[in-house]
């Protein structure tokens, strides 16, 4: 029987494992001579909603791709969901859901076919039940028989989120999920992502200060591949954060 994950599951995992959701130690990533991540160390506790801000090229996407085991770091140690990335990355992939600015879906398959294919790739039980559940949760049930390529950008994003949470991951990685969405789309996305707060550990990258700060329990600024700023939201004044953000990135938002 498929059981919906809730915060008590996460807390049980914390007690049982005594390990954070993510532990990155001295992560470095080079593409040729270009240094993208520079000895980045980061710990994310279970249930946290960490928003990572930073300019283009600051290493946000590379960090998400490394956490998702799509890319191997050049050096450094990484544990995600208590599993070492140097061991079997499949264990991490089971515990991680990823949403990027691209939908990662097959345009010529229907919503249901895309989700069903995803379910098979995870060797899930009760695929139809899970599809119904995420369909209800994200309001995509009426689009199940429609090819993804013909859906609006906002609706494709909902399907992408459905794909990312369908296997009930304990950690959700969101890489600039608001990209390409209009104001209404971002508002819709914010509601959906806010619904995941407290249920899963969420790490989200974004350029959008308002949206990112509103959702976060902790905010980080990435600059030139390193963490330049890292505080719990309870210790952050938003106006002050804007100033700090401008100072580190030279950007206004």
């Amino acid at each position: 029987m498929y059981v919906t994950r809730d915060i008590s599951d996460t807390m049980t995992a914390v007690t049982a494992e005594q390990k954070p959701a993510v532990t990155a130690v001295q992560l470095t990533k080079r593409y040729g001579s270009r240094l993208v991540l520079n000895k980045l160390s980061l710990t994310v506790e279970w249930g946290e909603f960490l928003t990572v801000f930073g300019l283009n090229g600051s290493g946000k996407t590379t960090l998400i791709r490394i956490l998702a085991t799509l890319v191997k770091p050049t050096s450094g140690d990484l544990d995600v969901a208590t599993f070492s990335a140097k061991g079997n990355p499949s264990n991490i992939r089971r515990e991680v859901g990823v949403v990027t600015h691209q939908p990662l879906l097959y345009r010529d398959l229907t919503t249901r076919e895309n989700l069903r294919f995803h379910g098979k790739m995870f060797a899930m039980n009760n695929i139809d039940l899970r599809i119904e559940r995420v369909g209800d949760m994200l309001g995509i049930k009426s689009n199940m028989q429609i090819k993804v390529g013909t859906l609006s950008h906002g609706m494709q994003k909902r399907v992408a989120i459905a794909r990312a949470i369908m296997h009930d991951p304990s950690i959700l990685l969101l890489d600039e999920p608001e990209t390409g969405l209009d104001r209404d789309g971002i508002s819709m996305l914010k509601k959906i992502v806010a619904g995941e707060r407290g249920i899963r550990t969420v790490i989200m990258t974004t350029h959008n200060l308002d949206y990112g700060l509103e959702l976060a329990t902790r905010a980080t600024i990435l600059s030139e591949g390193s963490i330049a700023y890292d505080k719990q939201m309870s210790a952050i004044c938003k106006d002050e954060f804007r100033e700090v953000y401008s100072r580190f990135t030279g950007a206004t938002n």
Binding site: Y31, L70, Q102, P103, L104, L109, F117, K120
Partner: protein, 224 residues
């Protein structure tokens, strides 16, 4: 093991559904092969004596270059909307993903080749439907698909994929092309197992090495 093969089956089934809907891979293989055969037929104006010499080469020139077009398409469908990343984010083993994609390529190439054979027979006045030729075609196409799928994935991240794939792929499959042309020649001449077997064995060894090596190499290729 059940999970492994069900993953392979799911990827193959997904590629079949996508191909059934957009028909891009088989259409591109078929159209290029057909045009190659027609152009070569007019260019060579083959006499019966010339046909017996050049027919195997003509057939495999058409199959090789059209196969490259099909291999280029195999990962284009994964590139759209970054679907390949969605696939790689799943815990499915990279070997299973490779095998699923490879079997899809193999199937599309074989279907196109089977459709083209009667056209080849008409254009070059040949009788190509010989059991030994079918074995040669299958073994050679398996070698093409196994190496081609890996290089297609490799070329996916390059800017000039259409150029990169043949540049990488053809030098590797030269042994298969030679064995396929000689095997086809012998099959056209009515050769039996005794004569063709050493070429089939060569292809079998190549195919086994290629499938195993490429399946394990796919993990490295799949990463950026």
């Amino acid at each position: 093991m059940i999970v492994f093969w069900s993953t392979v089956g799911a990827i193959l089934a997904k590629d079949l559904v996508l191909e059934f809907r957009n028909k891009e891979t088989i259409t591109s293989i078929l159209s290029f092969s057909l045009l190659s055969l027609i152009v070569l037929n007019f260019a060579l104006r083959p006499t019966p004596s010339l046909i017996s010499v050049v027919a195997p080469g003509i057939l495999w020139v058409a199959f090789t270059f059209s196969g490259i077009l099909g291999l280029n398409r195999a990962f284009a469908v994964e590139e759209d909307q970054d679907a390949i990343q969605g696939l790689l984010l799943t815990p499915a083993s990279r070997e299973a993903i490779y095998l699923g994609k490879m079997l899809g390529c193999l199937l599309f190439m074989l279907v196109a080749e089977i459709i083209l054979l009667p056209i080849f027979a008409v254009l070059f006045d040949m009788a190509p439907f010989k059991p030994m030729l079918m074995v040669v075609m299958f073994m050679a196409t398996l070698g093409f698909a196994s190496v081609g799928t890996l290089f297609s994935a490799l070329a996916m991240n390059t800017k000039s994929r259409e150029i990169m794939l043949p540049m990488l792929f053809i030098p590797i499959v030269v042994p298969i092309i030679i064995a396929a042309v000689v095997g086809t020649d012998l099959a056209f001449k009515g050769g039996g197992w005794q004569e063709i077997s050493k070429w089939i064995q060569l292809m079998l060894v190549f195919d086994l090495i290629a499938v195993v090596f490429c399946a394990f190499g796919f993990d490295y290729v799949a990463e950026d």
